[in-house]
Amino acid sequence: MNLSEIMVIVLIVLPSSSFVFLRRGMATASAVIASVEVGVASWIYFFPPPVGIFYVTPLTWIFILMVSSVYLLATIYSIRYMEGLKVWISPSHYYLMLNLFTSAMLFSLVINDYGLMWVGIESTTVLSALLIVLEKNENTLEATWRYIILVSAGVAFAFISIILIYYTTGSLSVSVDTGAGATGRYVSLAVGIALLGFGTKVGVFPVHTWLPDAHSEAPPAVSAMFSGVLLPVALYVLYRIYEIQPMPYLYGSVAVLSIVFSAIFLGNQKRYKRMFAYSTMENMNLALLGFAIHTDISIAGAILLLLAHSYGKAGAFFSSGSILKHTGSHKIGRVNGVFRDLPMTGTSLLLSSLAVTGAPPSGVFFAEILIFMALVTRGYYIFFVITIISVFLSFVSINYNVGRMLFSDSSGIRERRSPLTYISLISSIMPSLVGILFLVGYYAMF
């Protein structure tokens, strides 16, 4: 075992090792560990492990970066958010579950085995379920239960796909199977079943129903982790299976249908966290569409979208958490004058909302252009027309609702400035930085 492999093991194990601080200093230890994780992730970029137990490509590394950085933001945000909050599980156990949840996601990303990837994804459900029910009431319990039963049933279905992959290729190695060029009826069946199975966790219509409930009822940091990294990790696993035998029309049709339905759902939202949950569904399916088309441009678009979205959506949920703390209401209609009363939170909400809906210079904007370009150049004109109309409708729905919250009359609340607002703001600016970096890189290349 060489140093690079050891560093990957450190990356996976380090968050889990926080249990030694369970009695004392768990919050601080988690924040320190999360910072170290970002450093370890950077190290892995320069010294990736050889293909063997682990399979870390540049694509994998971007996902590792997303997980470790959103984990850092969520941990720091949680420290202040948890203060004075009545919680069902102790704060130490909350951080432990958050850390174990992160370990499971990182394990799913780097392991070179479809079966163990499945185990990792299934573990994320178990480890994150208790995080939703942190503030115990009837709504959080129901949302947790729906999350457990729907996602577990869906991911169990995905295990049939794993069985069929082993049946057809005789191997579960990701690096072997993706390059083997396997074809045939049962490979297609495996790839198709994976769409429905892992698609449950990605937020594919019609198996997305857990998503708005869990996102709206979970604490903001957990919603940020779900939306920003958990769903992308599930999408990464789905894409690794898709690579065995790409089925662009099946995956593309389901992605487009999901984008259409998310636009419809977004037109009728009365609660802001739920609205951002449906926005996540839209963005995940746009990324799925990019992967489904399977050209260099569309894949680049999907990756750029996921990266920018992870920070933007974290910013949106962090801002939502601050608004909820100040106003005590989940309803869009009951939140007024955020821009006047809570200027920093309002700014971060506006920036993140514009970022995740694809306003320039957010990375989501450039990602959408890349995906649309790929759709047109490959002749998917119907997909292109339906998607662009749906994306426009989603943009209008979300920003109209956010505008109502921001620019209506003042409700007389005064902002208590805290690290919560700064973390929201940093997260909201990140998608634009990603977009600008992409532009700079693009012009440097050509």
Partner: protein
């Protein structure tokens, strides 16, 4: 081949009978016992497969199924039901109607899925035609239907365990079993039972909530 026809197919049929028995029950304790018996039958099939193939993996799988599903799941669920467990039943449920609906749903879905997807597949573990895959496919849809048709946490957990049993049965028939199937089955049921037992403690029925609509 004779062992398959005379033992494995009757056992698989018995598994399906337990699944329909569970669907037809209103009392939760009967459902739990039905699930336990179903898991024992699955473990026996795994033992026979071990005998046929000479692989110890099947023995390990049988032991895990007995420990996790037949004993642990049953014990945890019955404990959560409290003292009056023989009286606990799901309210507002028309068992006869749901049973009929389940039969219709399963006949249609199994016919479609089997005829399109599995009717020509060759099995790698036993000398039998693809027809035996009708058993795990039927069990899978029955588990899904149980989850979808009931509002009670216990009933939904049992539906999920049935779904898991179906996947193990499918894997046992289809591929030479890697350790993974055992590990996955173990993780899955353990996780669900541990987490769900916490939820069961505070919430046993699931109805529509205004805040979670739309």
């Amino acid at each position: 081949m004779m062992l398959v026809n005379e033992v494995i197919i009757p056992l698989s049929t018995a598994i399906l009978i337990t699944a329909f028995y569970v669907q037809g029950q209103a009392f939760i304790s009967s459902m739990i016992r039905g699930q336990a018996f179903q898991s024992v039958l699955l473990a026996i099939i795994s033992l026979i497969m071990g005998y046929l193939t000479g692989s110890y993996d099947y023995l390990a799988l049988a032991v895990l199924i007995i420990l996790m599903r037949a004993f642990l799941v049953t014990y945890l669920l019955e404990r959560k039901m409290g003292e009056e467990k023989s009286q606990v039943q799901e309210s507002r449920v028309n068992v006869a109607y749901l049973f009929l609906l389940s039969l219709i749903f399963i006949v249609i879905s199994v016919f479609i899925v089997y005829s399109i997807s599995f009717s020509h597949i060759g099995l790698r573990t036993i000398e039998a035609g693809p027809d035996v895959l009708v058993f795990p496919i039927t069990l899978f849809f029955q588990g899904l239907f149980l989850i979808g048709s009931r509002r009670n946490t216990f009933a939904q957990i049992i539906g999920y365990v049935e779904e898991e049993n179906a996947i193990v049965l499918l894997a046992v028939f289809l591929i030479p079993i890697p350790f993974l199937v055992e590990a996955s089955a173990f993780l899955d049921v353990l996780a669900l039972v541990v987490i769900s037992s916490l939820v069961v403690e505070v919430k046993q029925d699931h109805t529509r909530i205004e805040e979670l609509r739309g």
